[in-house]
Every structure is written in C-alpha cells, then in structure tokens.
C-alpha cells in the first residue's frame, strides 16, 4: 500500500521534534494545552487481570474434561493457556514500554509480517479438525494469522485517519474514503473469501468502521461504507452453501439440533441449564464432549453453566467496566492517533465479545470467534494483551486545559481516579 512509505517518511521527519514517546500534536489539534505524563490506568490492568483470571479458572476447571480422549495430561490445556498469558504479559509490557512513535513507524513492518503470515497460512496444509487456511502450525504450536492482521490494520488506520484529520481531508472521498473501502474489500476478499473467516472479517470491518466513526468521518460516508459491507456480507453468505446452512441453523436451531445446529443447541442448553446460580465450578457437564470448542469459542456457555445468571451478570459487569475504562482512555487520549488506536481496540474487543456471546445465547449465528481474555487460545491472548499494552501506554498521557486556578491539578486528579 502506498500509504505505508509516506507514513514512514513522515514519522522519520517528525522524530527530532518528539520529546516524550508521543508525537507532538499538531497546533490545530493541540492548541496550547500541555500533555501531562502521569500514572497509567491501573484500573484497566486490574480489570484485565480479573478477566484473565476468570478465563483461566474456567479452563482449569474443564481441563480434565477436555483431556478425555485426547491423550494429553489433565492440565494440558490450563498449562498451555498459562504459558500464553505469560508470553502475553511480556507482549503487554513491550507494547506499553515501546514508545508510540516507534509503533507508528512499525506498522508497515507489521502489515508486511501479517500479510506474509496470511500467505503462509494459505499455502500450508490444513489440519483435519480445522479445514480452513487460518493457522500457521509449528509442532504443537499454532498461530492464527488474522490476529496479527487486526493489530497491524489498527495501527495503520489510526495513523492514516489521524493524518487525514490533521490535514483536514477526513471527509474527502478520494483521499479518505476510497483507501478505506479498498482495504475493507481486500480484507473481505482474503479473510472472508479465501480463509472463510467471516467472523474475523466482521470484527476487522467493524473495528475499522468504529475508528472511522471516531475520527469524525461524516455520517453519510459511514452509511455508504456500511451499505457496501452489508451488500458484501449478503453476497458472501448467499454464495457459499455452508454459510447459508449456518444462517438457517441460526434461524431454526432446535430443528437442526442433531446436525448442523448441534453446537448452537448445546450452547443454549449449557447457558439455560446453568439456571439462576449455576451448577458450580467443578460441575459443568456440557464440557464433557457435549459442547464442541468448550474451552475456546464456547467458553462463555460453559461459564454460564457453571455460574448461572448471577455469574454472567458479574462477568458482563466486568466487561462493561473494562470497556468503560477503555472509553475513558479514548476520551483522555492526548492526540488523535492514540485516541484512534484506543478506540479501535475498544471496538475490536467489544465486537469480538459481543459476536462470541451473542452466538452462545442464540442471538447471532456461530462465528468461531474467541471471547477476549477468557477463551483458550494463544494467538488471541497474545495479541489482545499486546493491544492492551498500547492502551496502557496511552493511559499515561492526558492533555489538560490550563485554566485559572489550575496548576496542573489534573495530574493529581487523574492519579486519584477522579474525573
């Protein structure tokens, strides 16, 4: 993409002007308000750890059930997930420590790596259990290339939109809309078309739409993009028989319980049989082979079975608090680039959570998407934590208006967690 080289050049040119990790905001955007560095948002970190803890608890509890018939140890799954989280925390720290300007320079490299990874996944032979070209496998390790693609596209789009905002061309069809539509189509073609990963495509496209929305793209333009996406989705669904089938299954899950609707039915049974207070941590039955992908896509249903309505209320409250924290960081972000990065991550994680949970409670078709921070799966954990590392870095900085009677008090207020 032609934008990458230009962005690299721009970044190089600006480097000398930068004092902190952040790019100095343009005068138009910045006004005279200073950027203050303060304590990062530890609340976000606490919520992240809480969600990870819930995920690892559920995986720990169902690990013996998952091990049945797979010739692996009782704690195979929980062990691998702990390793992924440990590696993810390294990614988190790296993402939080590596200055933003570096990230902003790095996205072309990231895009190239993500593109290469996608290509490798396409040419590698598929495994019998998962017949889609989505994974790169090395021995017992596997990596889902689309996860990296999400992050690379996110940083690219944040940079792209931030520069369009700075240049005042955000509403320009040629300069802004066309490239975005082009990228959306490219992602649609590769991820949805070739990799058959409609779920991830949906997440990426929603993420990009959300970022465009946050960047202030005029509503008319957004509607146009949405129209194109809806049209593309309809085409994608109607062109491929198994997707039509999935849609029918979604519309009539009970009628197809024993065939295509098995997972949807079992997910509903898991959620419903959890009842108001759940069966208890060690009491999940559906994990014992009834509900496919119990540790992964269907982990919400297993959680709901174990902890009931009370449990899902707590989990959703945690997610709401988590997203509220992300929104707060978006609102306080010191410049457009970091605001868009944070907003993109917020939309990404929220969409992924909603698509996942929606499928488990019979409101959306099954899409093979993980529940962020909860589901088993290395690629998802690694990239989610890396993204949160970026947000964590952003949460260190706030731009304050210095007005009468205010002597940088915002810093202290922020530290105390008041608004």
């Amino acid at each position: 993409m032609g934008y990458s080289a230009a962005a690299v050049r721009g970044a190089t040119a600006r480097r000398s002007l930068q004092t902190a990790g952040l790019q100095r905001p343009s005068a138009a955007e910045q006004g005279t308000a200073p950027i203050r560095r303060h304590r990062p948002d530890y609340m976000l970190m606490i919520l992240t750890v809480a969600l990870l803890a819930i995920g690892i608890t559920v995986i720990y509890a169902i690990s013996p059930a998952l091990a049945v018939g797979k010739h692996v140890g009782q704690n195979y799954f929980v062990g691998r997930q702990l390793m992924a989280i440990a590696l993810g925390l390294v990614m988190f720290v790296a993402a939080a420590k590596i200055p933003f300007r570096v990230w902003r320079q790095l996205y072309p490299t990231l895009l190239v790596i993500a593109g290469l990874a996608t290509l490798i996944a396409l040419v590698l032979p598929v495994s019998a259990n998962y017949p889609a070209h989505r994974w790169i496998r090395l021995g017992s390790l596997s990596f889902q290339s689309v996860e990296l693609l999400k992050l690379a596209l996110l940083i690219w789009l944040a940079d792209f939109l931030a520069r369009r905002v700075r240049d005042g061309t955000i509403a320009d069809t040629q300069k802004t809309l066309k490239p975005i539509v082009f990228v959306v189509l490219a992602v649609g073609l590769v991820v949805a078309g070739v990799q058959s990963d409609l779920g991830s495509t949906g997440v990426i496209v929603t993420m990009m739409g959300g970022m465009a929305f946050m960047a202030g793209l005029p509503m008319k333009r957004l509607m146009l993009i949405a129209g194109i996406i809806v049209l593309g989705t309809v085409l994608a669904v109607s062109a491929i028989p198994y997707r039509r089938e999935r849609l029918l299954t979604f519309l009539h899950p009970e009628a197809n319980c024993l065939t295509t609707g098995w997972q949807a039915c079992q997910a509903l049974i898991a959620v419903g049989s959890g009842g108001p207070v759940g069966l208890g941590l060690g009491r999940s039955v559906q994990a014992y082979g009834y509900l496919p992908e119990a540790e992964n896509d269907a982990i919400f249903a297993i959680y709901a079975e174990k902890f009931g309505f009370v449990g899902v209320t707590i989990l959703l409250a945690l997610f709401v608090a988590f997203f509220a924290r992300l929104k707060r960081i978006v609102d306080r972000a010191p410049d457009n680039f970091s605001r868009l990065v944070a907003a993109g991550i917020l939309v990404w994680l929220a969409t992924q959570a909603f698509v996942n949970i929606g499928a488990m409670i019979g409101l959306l078709p099954l899409k093979g998407i993980t529940l962020p921070l909860i589901s088993y799966g290395g690629s998802s954990v690694l990239l989610t934590l890396a993204a949160l590392g970026l947000v964590f870095q952003i949460s260190r900085y706030t731009k304050y208006v210095t007005g009468a009677g205010n002597n940088g008090g915002g810093y202290a207020d922020s530290r105390n967690g008041r608004r």
Partner: protein, 597 residues
C-alpha cells in the same frame, strides 16, 4: 477539571465515543435480557433438556445363581459361573495396526491378517475381536495398553458334568437370559435383580465421578437352587435310557423317576441330549426342549393302571372281579380290539386286563362306571366320571406346574363334546389312546394312586438359597388329597407286581430280589397320523412302573418313540420295558431303594 475539548475534532470525538459506548451498553442490555430469559425464566426447561442428554441409566449385572443337585447325602453344583471376556477394538484409536494384529494372533490364535482387517474397519468405533477370552489371555492382551483395545467382562455358565440333565437345566443365552428348562422357569430366582446406576455422563456415556446426582441401587445376586434330582440316579438314568433307545434304533426317548411320597423328581432324562456349554451348535431347537415335560403323546396301555384304579375307587369293580371279555366291542360303529398280548374271548379279571393289556377290559371297566356292556355303550355318566378322574384326580390335560420351560398340558377330550364318536374317544382313552400326556404327567398320576391317594406337585426344586445364605426348603405340596381311596394303592401295587412277575417269565431282566417290590405296566401306543387314523407300522413304547421295599419308593415312566422292531414285537415290551428293568436294577443295586425290613 476536564480533559481538554479545545478543538472541534476532540469535542466531536468525545460526543461520538458517548454514542459508541451507548450502543455498547444497549447490546449489553439486550444480552442481559436474553440471559435472564434463558437462565431464569427458561431454566427448568433447559435443565430438563440437559438431563435428557446427560443422564444415563446403567444396569449393574447381578451374579446368576448356581444350580446344585443332590449326590447321595451331599449337595454339589452342576451349573457354575465363569467370567470370560469379550475383546473389542476402536479402529479410530488403534495406531500400529499390524503390530496389534500380530499380538492378537499370537495370544488368541487365528490369522493376523484377519485381525488387521477388523482393526481397519472404516467408520466404526466398536469392533468385537473375540468372545469368551480367558482372564489370562485378556491380561496378556491389555498389558501393552494399546490405545483402542479393550475387554468387557461377561459371565458364562459352565457345566462340570458336561451334558448331564441338559434339557432339564436349559442354558443362558448371550443376553444373559435363561432359555428352556430350569434356567427359563426360574429366571426370576436365578437372575437376581440388576443394580441401577443413574449417572450424569460425558458424551461417551462414562459416568462423571464428581457428580453427586448419581444414584446407585446395588445389584441383588440371584439365589442358588438345589434340585431334587440325584446326580448319580440322573447320570445312570441317562446312560440306561440312551443305551435302551439306541438298542431299538429309536430316534428319541424319555424317562422320569419320581418319589411318589413327595413329588420330588429324582431323575428326568431325554435322549438325545446336547451340550449346554455349546448350545449354539445345536441346529434343531426342538432338541432344547425337555421332552419329558414338553412332548405329550398318546400314552397307550400304561393308562390302564389309572382306569383300573378309577374303577376300584368307584367300587364298580373289585380286586378279584372277573367278567366275560368278548375280545371286541363295537363302539360308535368302530371295533375295539386288543393290540398287545391278545387273550381271546373268555373270562378275564383285573390282573389279566393289565398283564395281557386288554383294551376290551379297560373299555369294560369304563362301561361299569357308566354305560352298558350289553349295548356296547359308555354313557354320559361314565364319560363324566372318567373325565373327572383324568382331569381332576390324575391332573391330566393340564400343566403340572413343574419348574420347566415349555411344559405342555396334553389333551383330554371333554365329555360333553357331542361330536360324533365321543363314545369311541372315551373308550379309547380308557387304554391311553385319543388322549395325550407327558411322561411327567403319567408319573405324577400313577404316583398319586400308589402313595395312597395324594397327588403331590411334581417338582425339581428342593431348596432355594438366597444370596444372604437363607435357605427356603420347598416342602412337598399336596395338590389333591383324595385322588383315589387309600385302599386302592395296595390293590394296584399287587396288580402291577403281578404284571412284572408274569413278564419276568419271558424276560430275565425283570427278575428282582424278593427284598424289593417292583411293579409295572407296558404300553404300545398307536401313533395318530396327520391325515387321520393310526399308523399301522409305527408305535411308541411306554412303561410305567415302581420300585420299593416296604412301600413304593420310586415311580418310573419310560417313553420310547417309534422304535424299529421286528414285526412280532410290541414296543412297550421290547423297547420300554428293558429300560424300566435297567432303571429298577440301578435303583436297587445302587442302594437308592430301601429293601423290605
């Protein structure tokens, strides 16, 4: 203090992030509503649906009770259980097919390639490799822990005495159900009650250990059953019967030895027999049936013992009664003549009726019970009386209720059946034609006369021993107490003794020590043809007799089907009588019968 909103862009972003978060909260709201519906309102429904998938009922097999029998003064098991294994494979999990196949071939025998083919069965998760594998072989096979290879324990019956009493015992089929004989009749007692395990399982049906919802009813093992038969008597009876049947080239035969004072069966044998441990190789399922209780035939002249007893009981004849026998009657236009040793027209008595086996004599007795010899007629009164004796006194025409599968009731024509020839039918039934009975029915009936007039329930079960060791003794049960008057017993006893003594003149094997009483009666039964009428060439040989000392101790009935004999020989005398003689000698010589004191 607010973050800056100094620029339009930032202000717009703040507004839009509120919209974004609003949408987000809306979705969460929808989800919470849906979750409330699923988990609170519909919780019971989904709980039921979940249990219908997850809850499995298991049966825990109960150990089947053993079958034991007397052997002199001790009790010995004759049917035992043995645990063998069904080796199976899950082809989806088998890894090194050729290696596993070689191991199977080396332990179980057979062709390695055949096993390999079974292990490669496509689209199957369960292939049975071998049945009835011994414990040792099972351990050898499972020791290397090949994935996908397993064994399932199953109890099989074993028979230390081989084919002994095979039809009487029956067998246990592959679904652990008793078939034929004792095994079928006492299924409830022997099988016990399987335990029930109601458990939440994984998708493969393996119960989840941690689930407290599991309920368990332990199995109650089956009771052991001690039979009345004596293995010594049974074994020798089978040998004597087999030899006797083979000797006259008959296809089959049966023998029953009953204790007339209790109704206990001491031996019940059939020829040919089969090996119950290998019942699967039997091609004709009729071989499974205990013919001594399952195959009624027209019994022939042995019935005359009961006709005479009825007449004596009624008082219409006395032990010393004599009468003129015309050597033929014309009843309903048909001539009744004598088929065995024909005495010709002349003066006859009860002893000669039995000894010479006079059909005309038996018919004459019936005429005394109701009818007219002058008119060659048996009237309603005679028919009613004789029917009452046959069915209500001698218990013919209905099942004895012995502990056997497939018992037959035999056939006795009703006296009020006004069809043509009912007189002829009744005249015939006086000497054992136009009616059918099993060896057991005949043994029970004659025993009831000889013991003084009590019909004891013929039975094979002596004791039932519950799993807790509690013994229930099966006491003799009197079905009818006044079959005939007590005075009839010694009268019939001496008449039958007379028959044996007379026959012993020509048959040395019928001579017994004077310390014992031995009596009998032959029967040469005509065989009804499917198209009507009787066979001119083929007969069944029958015999009823007794052995005792101070009193009658054993009643013996022998049936030999269609022996191949030279034309001048009668089946009763030539085929059945030698077997009876052999059995009587066996009981005396073996010390089973007590001599006079």
């Amino acid at each position: 203090m607010q973050p800056t909103v100094s620029s339009d862009v930032a202000r717009k972003a703040l507004a839009r992030s509120r919209i974004l978060f609003g949408v987000l909260m809306l979705v969460v709201g929808i989800f919470m509503t849906r979750l409330f519906y699923l988990q609170v309102i519909r919780a019971d429904y989904y709980h039921k649906v979940a249990l219908s998938d997850q809850l499995t009922h298991y049966q825990i097999p109960a150990a089947r009770g053993l079958i034991e029998a007397h052997q002199g003064n001790s009790i010995v098991p004759i049917v035992l259980n043995q645990t063998l294994y069904t080796v199976y494979a899950d082809p989806a999990l088998i890894k090194n097919v050729d290696h596993v196949a070689d191991t199977l071939a080396s332990v179980l025998g057979g062709n390695s390639a055949t096993y390999a083919q079974q292990l490669r069965t496509p689209n199957s998760r369960y292939v049975v490799i071998a049945h009835k594998v011994s414990e040792a072989n099972k351990l050898t096979l499972l020791k290397p822990k090949y994935p996908g290879l397993g064994a399932q324990a199953q109890d099989y019956r074993t028979y230390p005495d081989g084919a002994l009493a095979s039809q009487l015992l029956g067998f246990v089929d592959n679904s652990s159900t008793g078939r034929y004989g004792i095994e079928q009749a006492l299924e409830g007692t022997l099988a016990g009650t399987p335990g029930q395990l109601k458990a939440v399982t994984d998708i493969n049906g393996v119960p989840l250990a941690a689930d407290t919802g599991n309920t368990l009813t332990p199995p109650v093992n089956g009771s052991n059953v001690v039979l009345t038969i004596d293995t010594g008597i049974q074994e020798q009876t089978e040998e004597i019967l087999a030899a006797g049947v083979q000797n006259v080239k008959a296809p089959s035969g049966s023998a029953v030895i009953i204790d007339p004072n209790t109704g206990a069966i001491k031996a019940m044998a059939n020829y040919p027999a089969y090996d119950p441990s290998n019942y699967g190789s039997v091609t004709d399922s009729n071989l499974f049936k205990n013919a001594a209780v399952a195959t009624p035939i027209e019994v022939g002249s042995i019935m005359k013992t009961l006709t005479v007893s009825a007449g004596l009981d009624q008082g219409v004849i006395q032990q010393n009664t004599s009468y003129y026998d015309p050597a033929s009657w014309t009843v309903d236009g048909y001539k009744i003549t004598n088929i065995e040793q024909d005495g010709g027209p002349g003066q006859q008595n009860l002893a000669t009726i039995l000894n010479l086996s006079l059909n005309t004599g038996a018919t004459w007795i019936l005429m005394q019970m109701g009818g007219s010899a002058a008119a060659n007629k048996i009237d309603q009164k005679g028919r009613d009386a004789w029917y009452d004796y046959m069915v209500n006194h001698y218990q013919l025409g209905k099942k004895t209720g012995i502990e056997q599968g497939y018992e037959a009731s035999g056939l006795i024509q009703k006296p009020n059946d006004n069809g043509a020839g009912i007189d002829l039918t009744y005249a015939n039934s006086a000497f054992g034609q136009a009616m059918t009975a099993t060896p057991l029915q005949m043994a029970g009936a004659v025993a009831s006369v000889l013991n003084g007039g009590t019909y004891y329930q013929p039975h094979l079960v002596d004791q039932t021993i519950a799993p807790n060791g509690k013994v229930a003794v099966n006491a003799p049960k009197a079905v009818v107490k006044n079959v005939v008057a007590p005075k009839v017993a010694p009268e019939l006893e001496s008449l039958m003794e007379y028959v044996v003594k007379q026959h012993a003149l020509n048959a040395s094997n019928l001579r017994f020590s004077p310390d014992y009483i031995v009596g009998g009666k032959t029967g040469t039964a005509q065989i009804a043809q499917p198209g009507g009428g009787y066979s001119k060439t083929s007969f069944n040989g029958t015999y009823v007799g007794f052995v005792g000392g101070n009193n009658v101790q054993y009643v013996i009935v022998v049936f030999v089907m269609q022996p191949q004999l030279p034309g001048y020989q009668y089946a009763g005398t030539a085929a059945a009588q030698p077997i009876f003689a052999g059995l009587a000698h066996m009981l005396i010589n073996g010390g089973y019968a007590s001599p006079k004191t």
